[in-house]
């Protein structure tokens, strides 16, 4: 298994990852069809990449009323069964990283699936905010660290827009 590590401080907010994602999955360029979102706070020059972290204890999994969300034993990733999903958005409401990690695309909740081991978004991320690395103790620690940093950014008052 590999890890998709997101360093928010490296993100320049260019949003190319969204385009790569939508092209790979839907053969069109459309941020609304992307499973990764860059939430921008333009006054602060900040872009926060939002995508599924595949938590070890995912809250979305337990709240799903149709049991559409499960963990894939083989890849270790959280997956959503599109046939079961009703688009009720319960999962979006409980995600600790914010609702934008789970997108409702064409009526179905959709999350990052690492493109089956070859994530397209990583290929276009020139500022190294997205990296796809082997799962080893050191990288796992990094992932944890960067995930916490992202949570801090999302929660911090400083990074709310000042008007």
């Amino acid at each position: 298994m590999k890890l998709l590590i997101v360093d928010v401080d490296n993100c320049n907010g260019c949003r190319t990852c969204e385009l790569a994602c939508s092209l790979k999955k839907f053969l069109i360029f459309s941020p609304s069809h992307s499973r990764i979102s860059i939430n921008k706070m333009e006054a602060r020059g900040l872009g926060i990449p939002q995508l599924c972290e595949h938590c070890s204890k995912p809250p979305c999994l337990s709240v799903c009323p149709t049991k559409a969300i499960s963990r894939d034993e083989k890849s270790g990733l959280v997956i959503i069964d599109s046939d079961r999903c009703t688009g009720c958005e319960f999962c979006r409401k409980v995600c600790p990283y914010g609702a934008d990690t789970i997108k409702i695309i064409e009526g179905v909740a959709s999350i990052c699936d690492h493109c089956g081991g070859d994530p397209e978004c990583v290929k276009v991320c020139q500022c190294m905010a997205l990296r796809y690395l082997d799962s080893n103790p050191s990288n796992l620690r990094d992932k944890q660290k960067y995930a916490e940093k992202r949570l801090k950014y999302l929660a911090s008052e400083t990074f709310r827009r000042v008007i």
Partner: protein, 638 residues
């Protein structure tokens, strides 16, 4: 259905308060490509010559590049086109940021604003829904406040907004259209046109898509281009240090003290490297689909400006508000830059008018009475920071005088002050390049349809910094570099064509004319894969020339001729006084010689500078030829 282009143009008539959508004519796409090209065509078609740029008859056109909204590296630029209040001639001014892509995802390649409202308005484009909304509560607000208030009102942080600050409302001749708060379509006063229409802002949210003819191949090619771009040293530098990265190495070439003296001591403090090393730089910010992030996000942690957060400064600003005014304190320039940004001013022009005022003050043409008590000496950062909002609000005698630009101000002040006005006959203040030293820039600046400016044509490849640059210059001139440097008109024309197609497609100069990773063949291939059109390298270069010629013809229709193609007085008459460039000047005689060669190359009439009838027909500009023929401004080749 259209590939690559969204396929629609949104029209907004503010006088009638009505909006409508027209399809983008398919046959325009291969001919004018998009962005700047189709904008120019719309402006030519929809305006009459001789109109007052600040009247409701002027248009304000936003155009996203044809490759904007795709993974093509750094292709997110937006062009704003109108008749310029500063030059009363053609104006295209482009901006980075995220506005153009959002507009395309909302379904529009171009947005045309007509007429003028009587009360402040802003436009809310939410995919197919378009609404003209009240903006009385936003009038007078600076750009950052305006952006925040609109986002709050619409309840969406991800809305993209292009708008004006107080300077646009006050019709300052160099007011910018700002988008994503800090990205400016700065030059030529497009912000004043927006202000004259009482349009405070345009907010866009798009959830649509862009269809691609051959999606996999397209993506593969853009991956390849990104890989190539990664290996570019200049690209890496612009990511790491920004556009102002090497200012400290430009002691003898960076325009300083209104082009009078070499750079002030302490120049390193106003460089991109200093921003990084001293910790002012907090983040690197990218425009849409950017590969670089040369845009800087900076904060000041201590001192009188502690807590200030803003972006930049970038090269032009460090030079215009820093070395140009003799101010080398990093904090002061950051503060001045932020003032100019949130007031919605073009930092190049505002820096230029302040330098001119400083020289007038030191030489006794402006007194303390004229300046509201400001000691307007070179190097006085306090005066610099105070003066910027004064100009934006046309406050006091001085603010009002300077708000009309340096040429108009020098006419009012009289004396020798016209000699210190760094603007050419078109009336635009020159960008921060010493055109006495750099000859290809000199010719390019003289012939630019919008005035002496680097983002219309900047002859970077002529510097021959990389093997690729030297190769391209050899291709353009037929001679090996540096021998090629003698062929200034050929160099200028190559850069003009390349710049034009990169503006049309939405590419940033940093990947096209600075880093050279993406050239005409790559752009043609991207358009072909994206849209199914078949364009060759030659055809796309020709499209660039067609667009540039159309822009030139707009000026011809307005009555401009050869005497508008010149340089600021100081560049033509006052040689550089410092080593190693001592004695260098771009005299009128030299310029005339180069102009003759340039017009011959372009197949324009040398006497008037007007394109020949045959040239226009060859470029497929029949309707332009017919119009100019009627006005007797279309000479035949003898």
């Amino acid at each position: 259905m259209m590939y690559l282009w969204a396929g629609k143009i949104l029209f907004v008539d503010l006088t009638e308060e009505k909006t409508w959508v027209e399809p983008l004519k398919k046959e325009l796409c291969p001919k004018f490509l998009g962005g700047r090209g189709i904008n120019a065509k719309l402006l030519w078609d929809l305006t009459k010559p001789g109109i007052d740029p600040l009247s409701p008859e002027n248009l304000l056109i936003f155009g996203s590049g044809s490759l904007t909204g795709t993974t093509a590296p750094s292709s997110g630029r937006t062009t704003v086109t109108c008749k310029s209040p500063a030059t009363k001639l053609y104006l295209k001014t482009s901006m980075g940021g995220h506005f153009g892509a959002e507009m395309k995802f909302a379904g529009y390649d171009h947005l045309v604003v007509l007429g003028a409202s009587k009360k402040p308005k802003y436009l809310w484009v939410n995919d197919g829904e378009v609404e003209i909304r009240n903006a009385e509560h936003l009038w007078g607000k600076n750009v950052r406040e305006m952006d925040g208030k609109i986002k709050d009102e619409l309840g969406d942080e991800q809305v993209k907004i292009a708008g004006i600050g107080p300077s646009g409302e006050k019709l300052v001749k160099f007011a910018a259209v700002m988008n994503s708060i800090y990205n400016a379509a700065g030059r030529g006063g497009a912000g004043a046109v927006m202000g004259s229409k009482m349009l405070k802002a345009i907010a866009v949210r798009g959830t649509g898509d862009i269809k691609i003819k051959e999606p996999e191949k397209f993506l593969e090619l853009t991956h390849k281009l990104r890989e190539g771009d990664k290996r570019d040293v200049g690209g890496q530098r612009s990511w790491f240090f920004g556009t102002a990265g090497n200012v400290h190495l430009m002691k003898n070439t960076i325009p300083s003290y209104n082009y009078l003296k070499p750079a002030p001591d302490g120049l390193e403090q106003i460089s991109g490297a200093w921003l990084v090393m001293k910790g002012f730089l907090k983040r690197r910010v990218g425009c849409y689909s950017c590969t670089r992030g040369c845009h800087r996000y900076t904060e000041i942690d201590e001192g009188p400006y502690a807590g200030l957060y803003t972006v930049g400064p970038e090269y032009e600003t460090f030079s215009a508000l820093g070395s140009g005014t003799g101010v080398v304190s990093t904090e002061d320039v950051i503060k001045a830059n932020d003032e100019a940004n949130i007031m919605g001013l073009d930092t190049i022009s505002v820096g230029q008018v302040i330098q001119w005022a400083m020289e007038c003050y030191e030489k006794g043409l402006l007194t303390k009475q004229d300046t509201n008590g400001l000691e307007l000496n070179f190097g006085n950062s306090e005066a610099l920071i105070k003066l910027i909002p004064m100009i934006a609000n046309r406050e006091g005698k001085l603010g009002d005088l300077l708000a009309d630009g340096v040429l108009s101000a020098s006419k009012k002040i009289g004396g020798d002050s016209y000699k210190w006005a760094i603007a050419n006959s078109k009336g635009l203040e020159q960008s921060r390049v010493d055109t006495r030293i750099n000859k290809s820039y000199a010719l390019a600046f003289a012939v630019n349809p919008r005035g002496p400016d680097h983002l219309h044509t900047e002859c970077i490849a002529a510097g021959g910094a990389t093997p690729r640059a030297r190769e391209l210059m050899e291709e353009a001139t037929g001679h090996r570099w540096p021998e090629a440097l003698k062929y200034v008109p050929e160099i200028v024309r190559w850069h003009e064509d390349t710049y034009t197609i990169s503006d049309c497609t939405g590419f940033c100069a940093f990947v096209c004319t600075a880093a050279l990773a993406i050239q005409a063949p790559e752009m043609a291939e991207l358009i072909n894969l994206g849209s199914g059109i078949k364009l060759s390298k030659e055809e796309i270069m020709l499209a660039g020339r067609r667009v540039l010629t159309l822009e030139k013809c707009f000026n011809v229709r307005e009555g401009a001729d050869r005497k508008y193609d010149d340089l600021p007085w100081r560049m033509m008459n006052e040689p550089v006084t410092w080593e190693p460039f001592k004695g260098m000047v771009s005299s009128k005689e030299w310029l005339d010689g180069e102009l003759d060669k340039y017009y011959a190359l372009q197949e324009w009439d040398p006497e008037t500078s007007w394109p020949y009838k045959e040239t226009l027909l060859k470029l497929g500009l029949e309707e332009v030829e017919a119009d100019l023929e009627k006005r007797d401004r279309c000479p035949s080749k003898k």
